[in-house]
Amino acid sequence: MSAVLRQHAEQEYAHELAELSQQDKRQRPANWKLSPWAVVTYLVGGKLDNGFEVTPKYIGSRRLMEIAVATLATDRALLLLGVPGTAKSWVSEHLAAAISGDSTMLVQGTAGTGEESIRYGWNYARLLAEGPSMQALVATPVMRAMQDGKIARLEELTRIPADVQDTLITLLSEKTMPVPELNTEVQAVKGFNMIATANDRDRGVNELSSALKRRFNTVVLPLPDTIEDEVDIVKRRVDSLGKALEIPAEKPPLEEIRRVVTIFRELRSGTTVDGKTKVKSPSGTLSSAEAISVVSNGLVMAGHFGDGNLHANDIAASLVGAVVKDPVQDRLIWLEYLETVVKERDGWKDLYRACREISE
């Protein structure tokens, strides 16, 4: 089992879930493995009464997680929105793992997702041999979640074509999936609900119809609030990634991570951290996920081509690449930022020079 590249949340954190389930004395909604309170604790971390430490999965506002869990406890579905790299799928996976103990009821939305991957398909060999019957029907993750009373997950909802999206309406409001071919239906068992994720930036791809929108409560996952939070996130992920990829470099100094995060935050928010100067924002999203990849990239550079320690010039290349997505507009913005902010800052001369070299 340990040979798999990445374990499911319910496997990786099985001990935490078991401990929580034991300690949790609060009322659980039907077919939930944990009470809403315990689900929130699993996500944001905390100390249990017996001193057991639950690690935080989501670093950010507890209130947001409360809204998300409260939504799943009502009969509305949950829509997680956010720019790329704000941990939407991550939260969705852990929510499903904590509530149903199973995060695998997953449908990946693409432009090619058809109705049969959301409702049901047919085993044609059987269909031809035996005629239409329940045995010839191929259940989708959504259908199985309905039958078992679990949480179904739908990734990238807005990439699914609009006509396919609309099959969700009956499913979510009447909690039933009609199978007209067999003159029957599959009714959802208590505990069934759905978590969909969608990308803020791609809202225009396949905008949800207002009828479907109404079936979802929306929770927007923001970019990290404070620089400390973000540095913490980046550090944790870079450390664990570095271990997984066996990069032959020293751990990145906190100072370098802080610099990268500072640049990302400043460009994203349009103001310098001291709040004194405004800067323009480039077209890229500059999420924490990208900060993570900039730092790990730098580590690889330092490990294989440098002296094993992370320096400004190891970071510069991937930093410029992450910021400048549009070769004309973003480049101007980046140069302006370099000249007006980075150049002036104490102790940033090395970074300025390294970036300048690459940007010219």
Partner: protein, 762 residues
Amino acid sequence: MPITVFGIRHHGPGSSRSLVAALENLKPDAILVEGPPDGADVLALAGKEKMHPPVAMLIYRPEEPGQAVFYPFTIFSPEWQAVQYGLRNQIPVRFMDLPQAVQLAQRAALAEEMARKLEAGEELEAPAVEEKTEPEEVEVQQDPLGYLARAAGFEDGERWWEYLVEGRKENRAGIFEAVLEMMTALREERDASGEVPPLVEQQREASMRQIIRDAEKDGFENIAVVCGAWHAPALVKMPAKKADADLLKGLPKVKVAATWIPWTNDRLATSSGYGAGVRSPGWYAHLWENPEDAVVQWMARAARLLREEDLEASAAHVIEAVRLAETLAMMRGRPMPGLDELNEASRSVFCYGSDLPMRIIARRLVVGEVLGTVPDETPLMPFHQDLQRLQNALRLKPEATARTLELDLRNSKNSLDLDRSHLLHRLTLLEIPWGRLGSTYGKGTFREVWTLEWKPELAVAVMEAARWGNTVEDAAVQWARAEAKQTHSLAALTELIDLAILADLDAVTGDLVTRLQSLSALSSDVSELMSSLPGLVGVMRYGNVRKSEVEQIGPVVDGLVTRICVGLAPACSGLADEAARDMFTQLNNTDKAIRLLAMDEHTSEWTGAIRKVAENCNTPLLQGRAARILLDNKDDQPEDTARRMGLALSRGTLPEVAGAWVEGFLHGSGLLLVYDETLWGLINGWLAGVTDEAFIQLLPLLRRTFSTFPAGERKQISLRFSHHSGATQTEEIYDSGQVEQMLPLLEKLLGLNDEKSVSDGQ
């Protein structure tokens, strides 16, 4: 018991409801309410029909209206309800507190002392007592019930109050006893820690007690005392009368006046900076009006509001939002959803997680856009009084007939003229067009000519302006600040800075410059950046700005120049004819401004940017200009320019493109054609080389270019062309043609023949 003390929560609807019930139960014969005794004269106005809260009682010093205190009241303020109860039932109502006459005098004395020390260069000791206290302590005293509520895990004092107090329907009178008990405990804890309450607090409470004693002396037998919960214990346990009298003896006093002014919910909110404000006046008003099913009503109102804005919000949404809010409250262990739960549910259900519609809800519901009204017989506004005072002091009587006023701003003996100019500029800013500035002589001169005419409708403008502040200066500062917030155009902001300097609004110039900085950083329109630069440089070089502002403007100008230089080349490329013409003007003005600045760093940056344009730009007009700028500033050697021109006019280039280049290069002055053999040769060669057809196309363009030259230059050039055989310069100087073309100027100088010279000049 002849005296009953009701400790209330300022602006708390829960307190209000309990208080009204308790008063009806008690049926007092006199009501004492915490509030400024100075306002006794206008208190009765509160009962008038046209008085609708939110309103504020304004206590101010008639000589210095800038020093003023507001006492805001809302419909759900317990104080307001107590006053209303008294007026309705013809029961005498009195305010009790340390009079503002005293408090304002103290404040003035403190300010004077600070100023004196500052002048004497003494070190400022730790400022007044209030600032020494920890924020938490201030919070305990201002809103002790809210503090206790938060200690109990509630985010909102109202909810806690409702949960604890309103829940119990029976035995309402006991509530105030319980509050009294809690406050006594809180105060005892403080006293036990050995902390001495601030002097102001001691004086205020002593003063309240004295007023209670007076009421007793006046023969009232059943007195209701309404005060902030924090003070309640101090009014129950009466110390010796003598001690209080000693505390209040010999306090300085100033003359004050009181009036009512309309107030807004917006300014009641804590976010407006009002210290004792509430976070969500609209929500409280809602709680006051709908005590029964606040949650459902609230969501229904939110849905209606969103629908008015053409956003989707159906009845089904309302149901879902209420359910989510209640589930959230349950998860958090609350008996009922509070404002936080309601907001979170609204955001998730109505707004699909977006903040924008939430802002509508925050503005229109949580804060509420309500403006109060006051009756007509309310006394005059302090702004108007300040204006009258200034008019007297500066000997500028408002007169109905227009008259001219000449001001000499240099007059060093007294600053009368300068002050007058400031006043008139400020009034102009505030859209009170009493004086019109006649022809200006530009910034450098020190004379202003105003035409003054007071029209009756200006009174309305004065009323309008009064909402900005209590003095003319204050109002103008606020106005400029608001204007700066609204404007998004750099040029307008630069103009505003100029006006603010003319009106001597030091307080705001810094803010304007900061705003300018942030606007300029965000603007991606290089031509807009360029349009604001000359104005700013002008302010820096010529304005009568103080040093501090020049220091502030400096970095902005630095930033502007850097941004312009970074973005210049892309901004100059691919422009249509008209846009190119605009940019052409900007290019010239910016160049002038940067030369005026004469800072090496900027000049070299600018030269670099211009060089890029000259090298590599597909708008020939601007490319030509850039080449010219480089030549004029000796950044290019003549041979460089010759190379550029040769390139631009080479055979491969379309004639109209080359024509535009020539126009850009030569615009304004062509004298160098006369003296530079190489350039002249190039242009000559190019013109001779174009086909007849192309020449006809080029003709209007060339005519336009050459018509910008002064007449003399044109003649010289035409001579040069007519002698294109390559005569040397020395010969030409003695050419009779040259002498001839000097004649018109001589005639003009000597006044021999006016008409001829004019026609020549056209």
